[in-house]
Symmetry: C2
Subunit: 345 residues, 2 copies
């Protein structure tokens, strides 16, 4: 009997002391949640031929005139406001190229994503779909967008996300040794892949600028991959609205020459990089620009933390750091950094 | 002084008695929220020419091979689970054609949408983006999708959503008298408009079938416009998974001939229609098929409630009933019906 009680005591103490198991089960008190579009403007199409089609199976045939006015260049935002946030500023999660905001929700293997993690840590979390991705919608091409969209194949994703070496046949698809991305759910991950354009960076940046400047009291941005360049550029343009920059494997950064780093020296930067960089010449190239930006920021007086995860003993992370099996551990690192930078209440 | 106290007493009593103002301010206790993709399968592209492009401004040029394997035909789902739901089944909100699940979030004029309304009423709310819309992504055309996408112009939306009569110039754009859609936010509404395809109904239906059958204990579906046909067809195929059908201005329904209505006689149906039907020959045509389906369901023994809002004294609703200025009132109607049908605990 004594042993049973001791066992129960240990069980209860363990449950009390384990922050993860306790957090995973606790409900959060949400003041409200919702979504909206921001940015964009009206564009007009003229002189295109009219068609006749039924839009619903068995429904009547309708005249479909492709001409007229359309909205283009807007982005989509989704927010969850807590009843009692513990963070000083809203936390904005920005997806990378070929993805949407959905990437911050559940991981491909069904665990809580960073959205839920940071909500439980007391952040008002904002997730966006950049111009032309997901619920932001996309504009007709080549009439409005001048180029055709780029679709990412599984082969390309496997290589660029550093899940494993390039393969020709699926049967040859092997992950890198020690890979932490849930590669058995790779097909599930690829269902979230969306087309991208190469001709619309100005539109994307403009909408991000309107989005960030709408946070009059400031915001903290978590930017992954392609969105790193947009986040750093937007921070330079709207420095007073940005209180922290968390860059996950940035694929680019504004050029150092001609950049006024003094204007962003008050914004702390955290850069995090995964594993297998030596396997990826393209990521080595991408990293050079981001490192130059980080170094110049530091030189100008900014607090810059540069973490290559393997160097601190965390091995096996892919490019999709926030979906890898240790995503909670990396999120905890980010949370600790935010605490240290005075970004929590 | 006496008058001041009386006034305060009335004010306090009014605040206590008004369910809306009380609800609008009360936080909800959320167990978890997230999103995932469901349905779809791998498709392969071969023999397309390889291109070279930089994907990030200033970034290195990459070889872009459009060939390979892709996922196609999946849909996207987002959920909010309450700590203590009061509804017996999850409530699934299905958007109409040319829209995404975002349409159930805030209204174009920034009020709470039906997502927040039904969360406050105690439903676990699921919002989806149908195949090829929003975060569901879309497949390359004409290689995978055989047809080109259809974009909805502002002119077309103004007419088909029954905001006002057809117009040629924007200066001539006038709403119908008494219009309840927030027409001053029409451009904002159009930022949520997405392209659609006319060749992919089989894919859309297949994914909806997988989605609905994943609710082993049943679900209640709210389907708007284009999704009505998908919801009714899916209910016939997965009758045991569907516990209620709320059809908002269905644009179509399965053909009555050959349909086994006995199989869905246990599923109560609520149909709601807005105003200005006499101004829209196309909506009169669409309505005929839905009415025939509703009548045949009733004849087979189903509980069918058919509400033309103007006939019960509610005038001014557009096709976007759940975004019109009285969206809370219509939601309350739906909530009352669910209560009466035994769908609440």
């Amino acid at each position: 009997m004594q042993r049973v009680y001791s066992f129960m005591l240990i069980f209860v103490l363990t449950a009390m002391l384990s922050p993860f198991s306790a957090q995973a089960k606790k409900a959060i008190s949400v003041q409200d949640l919702g979504g909206y579009h921001i940015g964009g403007n009206e564009v007009q199409l003229k002189g295109l031929p009219v068609e006749e089609k039924a839009l619903t199976p068995g429904g009547p045939v309708r005249k479909l005139d492709p001409n007229g006015e359309f909205e283009a260049g807007q982005m989509y935002v989704q927010y969850v406001h807590l009843e009692s946030p513990k963070a000083k500023y809203p936390l904005l999660l920005w997806h990378g190229g070929g993805l949407t905001g959905a990437t911050w929700e559940n991981t491909p293997d069904g665990r809580d994503g960073w959205q839920m993690y940071f909500l439980r840590q007391g952040h008002n979390v904002y997730i966006s779909d950049a111009v032309e991705r997901g619920r932001a919608s996309w504009a007709k091409f080549p009439e409005i967008n001048t180029t055709a969209p780029v679709f990412r194949s599984k082969q390309d994703a496997w290589r660029i996300f550093r899940f494993g070496p390039t393969y020709d046949k699926i049967s040859e698809r092997k992950p890198f040794a020690g890979q932490l991305f849930p590669v058995d759910k790779f097909d599930q991950f690829m269902k979230g892949s969306v087309p991208r354009w190469t001709s619309s960076n100005a539109w994307i940046l403009k909408a991000y600028g309107q989005y960030v400047s709408s946070f009059k009291d400031g915001c903290v941005i978590v930017a992954h991959s392609q969105s790193a360049n947009f986040a750093l550029t937007t921070a330079l343009a709207h420095a007073n609205n940005v209180k922290g920059l968390i860059i996950l494997e940035g694929s680019g950064a504004p050029k150092v020459d001609g950049t006024d780093f003094a204007s962003i020296k008050h914004i702390p930067q955290l850069h995090i990089w995964g594993d297998y960089m030596e396997e990826s010449p393209i990521w080595q190239k991408y990293q050079v620009n981001v490192k130059a930006f980080a170094d110049a920021s530091k030189k100008a007086g900014a607090s810059v933390t540069w973490i290559a995860l393997p160097e601190i003993g965390i091995k096996g992370n892919s490019h999709m750091i926030y979906q890898d099996k240790n995503s909670d551990d990396i999120a905890a690192l980010v949370q600790k950094w935010m605490q240290e930078q005075g970004l929590m209440k």
